[in-house]
Subunit: 446 residues, 2 copies
């Protein structure tokens, strides 16, 4: 076995090799750390990474296995964690100088679940300021002059650069799907409420959703499967039976899936090359895809999303605004100031729209389609480090809490990855991954 | 059997006699209708009551029984329904001229559950305007110059006057507990989310709660037990195991209960005779009661309640305000106008306070006390038909969604009933009724 290339293993393969005893976690983590040394000077994906602490976790995992103790589904596999999830053993700084040196005493629910599954929490990945707009230091691994996307910039970039096979992030607008697309990895944002958010920075209870990054659909399923759960500290989670993510994602669909190609009311924002690439993809899929127009009121959803997001951010970041607004970015300060002016009636009206708009999509899925097919972003990663790009193609699905996955199936003329987004109905997460795997295979087959 | 006095039977006794075949539902409903004819000219508890339709339901119930078909726990028993619950067979007018003649096509969830239990929906009881402040026509059965309380005025008055053994109402501030106390009947408002609200007028998702009226604790338990359930159309309900209301309420407590006497920050609003009557009650209970001071921030809860209620009312009654504000009462128009000005940040801050304040009560119950003991209202029903009285002694418990019961154990010097309120922790509903039965017996034993 070539130990120098272990960093490029998928998590599923790594777990398999560790279980077999062909490699151990320390070797895997060593390889990932070597890759960090090799690439991170340029990429800068990490807000915090202590190689010794990572290796200590790996060696502890190896000890457990040597003692014959039961091991978890992610045993010994390194995972990057966006720096808005609390970690008891590392700082959690929210991408803001206001929280420099903050060291929580407990793990976030998602982090605790990763540890219970045996994962090595290798480090904290760079987030934009409070997971909003102002970029962190991370650059796109494909070209350092381009944004990696945000707000889960470091998680996407670290997986793309081969520094880690898995990472977790969050999405309140387009913060998982967009960086995944810009960095050319797979991103998956499950149904709202599936993954508990306790111990994660709260911007918006209505919109905040945990997401995952990986380099294969199978790995997305493996990781997401460890994170689903009921947590009474997150009032949007529910007790539910285990979702067989990996099993369903690995199945062949009983029939070839049908896709609803949705341009969204923001199609004019898409680059010409995005429009062309999607035209070719749709041609390639033939009768498996039909263009579907959204009902006219869907166009208002972007405004509802903004009203909810800004009003809830203004409430959740009220202390930061009151006590540290001079140390916030201009863009965040402006968002909070707009949010503070939202009236409760307008806010409630926007929240009340979510259910009916989601209902209209339920019909779409029940009648005919397995997934909505739409761009993940208007184009490839912009050559601009002052912004993290445009989330418009994610907003509607995030508002509705629908599961979405970004697949790096296309390419721009600049050679940068161009993401294809698939969206399913709420609670159709595992089937969405199955459909995604089918699509990736269909594109690969040419 | 003296058929002329059937109207004074408890629901539990009536069910028993109907099951035995000693009486039938038509006889019971006839007796209740006779009582209506006798008393309602003065009390005016009904917004709608069609004697023929009530009797037709009773006869249908009797037919079912004669055919040997299975019968429900409320088989043949007449129940009054506050005129904010939709009924497929009767108008539902919300106490507003804006909805005069409104005839819904479906039953509210609670009404459907009553029918499934075999109840006869005898008629619709008077509500204040949109279950808010402006009084309806109902008068206090004990003295027609006094208010019956509100907003569930007709439900409380109809049960008090012996027109019906059971009725349902709703509480957003004090609309079950206060009229029960003023009319001298038992009122029970279970934990928020226990009884589905689909098909009931929505003022405030956060605060609206269904409640029940009866003349015995056993009847409260019987009725509430039929109404608990999960309904996906009410997002605050949850799937849960059946709660054995009647069984637990009938048990003897394993130890004599301990009461926390809570004056609340509004004690100065209580009449002198209320203060004296509670002083005597507490003396009578001896070492079973201790005075407990609320933490200082509890005083802010009344403001949080007002912010939430007015902001949510402004959203839920927006159409009425926009299209019919000239036909709203001055008090409601003023409330909606204040609600429209509430900022989303203030609204959210108020909502976010509910959980921590409830947590502080949980500790109280876990440590030492079975129930909080507090007045249901500042005094007996005021001699004033232009208002329905002061809900202050209910606000805090409604805000927290805690179960509360009002017991007619005391009396004012004017001879009018004075209510004792018991409050339990969320989901402690059945045990609260058990404690209430113990207290009623302890007071009756002198």
């Amino acid at each position: 076995m070539d130990l120098t290339n272990l960093h490029s293993l998928s998590a599923s393969d790594a777990v398999h090799l560790i279980r077999q005893g062909a490699i151990d976690s320390a070797q895997l983590v060593e390889a990932c750390l070597a890759r960090v040394r090799e690439t991170d000077t340029q990429v800068q994906a990490w807000a915090f990474l202590d190689p010794d602490h990572a290796l200590a976790q790996a060696r502890a995992a190896d000890d457990l296995k040597r003692q014959g103790l039961p091991i978890g589904p992610l045993h010994g596999v390194p995972v990057g964690v966006k720096d808005i999830f609390d970690t008891a053993d590392m700082p959690t700084e929210y991408g803001s100088v206001l929280y420099a040196g903050r060291t929580p005493s407990r793990d976030a629910a998602a982090v605790a679940m990763l540890r219970a599954a045996g994962a090595v929490i290798i480090g904290k990945t760079v987030t934009t300021e409070f997971a909003t707009q102002a970029p962190g230091k991370t650059r796109n691994p494909h070209d350092p002059d381009h944004t990696p996307g945000g707000s889960s910039s470091g998680s996407a970039a670290a997986v793309a650069a081969g520094m880690v096979p898995l990472a977790i992030g969050s999405q309140t607008n387009g913060s998982v799907i967009r960086p995944a697309a810009f960095c050319g990895v797979l991103g998956f944002k499950p149904t709202h409420g599936l993954i508990p958010r306790h111990g994660m920075l709260t911007l918006s209870r209505t919109l905040d959703q945990v997401g995952v990054f990986a380099r294969t659909v199978h790995d997305l399923a493996l990781l997401a499967g460890q994170l689903v759960g009921y947590d009474e500290r997150d009032p949007d989670t529910r007790p539910r039976a285990r979702i067989p993510f990996a099993e369903v994602a690995a199945e062949e669909p009983p029939l070839p899936p049908m896709f609803a190609f949705v341009k969204t009311p923001h199609w004019e924002r898409a680059d010409e090359e995005t429009k062309e690439a999607f035209g070719e993809l749709i041609e390639h899929l033939g009768d498996r895809v039909e263009e579907v127009e959204l009902f006219p009121s869907a166009a208002e959803a972007w405004q509802w999303h903004e009203t909810i997001m800004e009003a809830e951010m203004a409430a959740n970041l009220e202390r930061e605004w009151k006590e540290g607004r001079d140390r916030l970015s201009d863009s965040l300060r402006a968002q909070l100031e707009r949010g503070r002016e939202v009236r409760a009636v307008d806010y409630q009206r926007a929240v009340a729209r979510i259910r009916p708009i989601h209902e209209s999509f339920v019909e779409l899925f029940e009648q005919r389609y397995d997934a909505i097919l739409t761009p993940a972003a208007p184009g490839t990663a912009p050559k601009d480090l002052a912004s993290t790009g445009d989330p418009s193609f994610c907003t509607l699905w995030t508002l509705c809490g629908m599961p979405a996955v970004s697949l790096p199936l296309l390419q721009g003329t600049n050679g940068l990855p161009l993401g294809v987004q698939l969206v399913g109905p709420r609670d159709g997460d595992a089937r969405l991954l199955r459909t995604a795997r089918w699509l990736a295979a269909a594109v690969a087959a040419g």
